[in-house]
């Protein structure tokens, strides 16, 4: 296709917290600076900035991308903000990839930030207008409705119990105990999840990731630059994204077909034929515990309805055959929306370089995947990475 190969050579991540004192700009700076320092590049070397951040309504700043740009290293540089809601984090790296793969820039700084604590009484209030303003808003919906309705369809279709699903929350929160940036690392049991407060049945408090403040960043470079600055580049060899209908009554709620289409696009580009055998470590998007399972199936990492069994058998544990969310995921590390997608890419970057410390999965993985999801709950964004 006449595109250049693109490598990730640096990554940066702030701690994810419920409430940060830092402004959004300051959070963006901390992650961006750490990413540049990690590969010994300076702002002067950066050709362009891709800045990802989810709804303006979270930070309460209109034109949030422009507001954040100087903290993200965008001073007098070409800056663009991609936006696909919750899928923004992974899409942001895809967007950075365009900039370098196209030949337009050699070095792109990819930065993602979210400061959800500005919004009160709760950032969920900012979501009201994602519901149809005449057919649904009059019903006074809250955000969790969407997930409760979808989770129940998933359980009903494949005969899955809440206990099966809660195992994901137990696994991810435990994985997060080894992550220095984690907001809610916890050792909990399936019963703890089932006995936690019911928010919108079947969704309980411990099925959900928290709201968070935080930022994450990556440095993407063209092949000839990568070879000069590191002997451990991590290649972005496949990217994919896809949206389904925004009419959710028309959509397949038990299976994320749009994630499958995004994954197939990325796999084809990366030459992956049997993803369940070839992907060695994965960070599927897990804002809710059932979503990790939903997404594993959409990503073709297992058959439909099979993800709970793999989880129960320990296949997705950090020392299993297909570790998922070794970082601790959104359930454990936290969920500052756009930043959490980039956090997942940071994790695969560190895993493939053998730099994940206590979180390192065994077997020196060579192929990994990160995925995010969002928009009106009908976008899938996928990236395949290799060493």
């Amino acid at each position: 296709m006449g595109m250049r190969r693109v490598a990730i050579v640096g990554a940066g991540l702030t701690k994810f917290v419920r409430r940060a004192q830092e402004t959004g700009k300051e959070l963006a700076y901390e992650a961006a600076k750490m990413a540049l320092d990690s590969c010994e590049l300076t702002l002067e070397d950066v050709g362009c900035v891709s800045l990802g951040t989810a709804p303006d309504a979270f930070d309460g700043v209109h034109m949030k991308g422009e507001y954040l740009s100087d903290g993200a290293g965008g001073w007098r540089k070409p800056v663009m903000r991609p936006y696909v809601g919750g899928g923004t984090g992974v899409f942001n790296a895809i967007h950075g990839w365009f900039h370098v793969a196209s030949g337009l820039f050699d070095i792109c700084l990819v930065v993602a930030e979210e400061k959800m604590s500005s919004c009160y009484p709760h950032p969920a209030g900012a979501f009201l207008t994602i519901f149809d303003h005449t057919t649904e808003q009059p019903l006074k919906p809250n955000l969790i409705w969407i997930f409760a309705l979808e989770m129940r369809r998933y359980m009903e279709t494949y005969g899955i119990s809440h206990r099966d699903i809660a195992l994901v929350s137990v696994k991810n929160k435990k994985n997060a105990m080894d992550h220095p940036c984690a907001q809610i690392p916890q050792e909990i049991t399936v019963d703890d999840v089932l006995n936690s407060e019911v928010l919108a049945d079947p969704v309980h408090r411990l099925d959900i990731s928290p709201t968070s403040d935080g930022a994450a960043a990556l440095v993407l470079v063209a092949e000839h630059i990568a070879k000069k600055i590191t002997d451990k580049p991590v290649w972005i060899d496949g990217v994919g994204w896809n949206v389904d209908t925004a009419y959710w009554a028309t959509r397949d709620l038990c299976y994320p077909r749009y994630v499958e289409k995004a994954a197939r696009m990325a796999y084809e580009m990366a030459g992956i034929k049997e993803p369940h055998k070839e992907i060695q470590v994965a960070e599927p998007y897990d804002p809710f515990d059932y979503k990790e399972l939903h997404h594993m199936e959409g990503l073709l990492l297992c058959g439909k309805g099979e993800a709970p069994r793999l989880t129960a058998e320990g296949v997705t544990a950090r020392d299993g055959n297909l570790p998922t969310c070794p970082s601790g995921g959104l359930l454990g590390v936290g969920n500052p929306i756009a930043a959490s997608g980039v956090m997942k890419i940071c994790e695969i970057f560190w895993q493939l370089r053998g730099e994940a410390g206590k979180r390192q999965v065994p077997g020196k993985p060579k192929v990994g995947l990160a995925q995010a999801w969002g928009d009106l709950m009908q976008v899938g964004t996928v990236i395949v990475m290799k060493v």
Partner: protein, 157 residues
């Protein structure tokens, strides 16, 4: 029908009224904490300087946007500045007439590369000029609460 028809009032059509119920608390941040504490406690304006780029930021930043150096030295930049540009406002945000016009100026703080947008006071709007020297007038210490409104306005020196 539809787009080809001139519509004078959208409430004449079937519609649903709603609002987005969100409020915000904006933390002032790491640099903002220093900036507003100095205003509140000491009636001073501080900035941060990048020694490498020789740029002084007011309000202060924790980073130099030009070279990404971390900036940790907060310096007192005084309270005097120069009118860089200004406007005289006759209407409120809802379009109603103001009883008295207000003067809004961008004041470059002397000896720095930054400045503040604020009101001008103790001056007739006819007398405002670009380049005139002004200084910040603070509220009495007991009334200050760590807000940009702790500065009442800038007035001619």
């Amino acid at each position: 029908m539809g787009i080809t028809e001139k519509i004078k009032r959208n409430i004449d059509m079937t519609s649903w009224k709603d609002k987005i119920p969100v409020n915000y608390i904006y933390t002032v941040g790491i640099a903002g904490e220093k900036f507003f504490r100095e205003i509140k406690d000491n009636g001073k304006i501080v900035g941060t300087k990048c020694e490498k780029c020789e740029v002084t930021f007011v309000p202060p930043k924790i980073y130099c946007e030009r070279c990404f150096s971390r900036l940790e030295n907060y310096i007192d930049v005084g309270t005097k500045g120069t009118v860089h540009t200004f406007t005289i406002c006759y209407e409120n945000v809802d379009g109603t007439k103001k009883e008295e016009p207000t003067i809004i100026a961008m004041v470059k703080i002397d000896g720095t590369d930054g400045g503040l947008v604020h009101w001008l006071g103790e001056i007739d709007s006819k007398d405002v000029e670009i380049g005139m020297s002004v200084e910040a007038i603070f509220k009495a210490k007991e009334e200050r609460e760590g807000s940009i409104l702790d500065i009442k306005y800038f007035k001619p020196t």
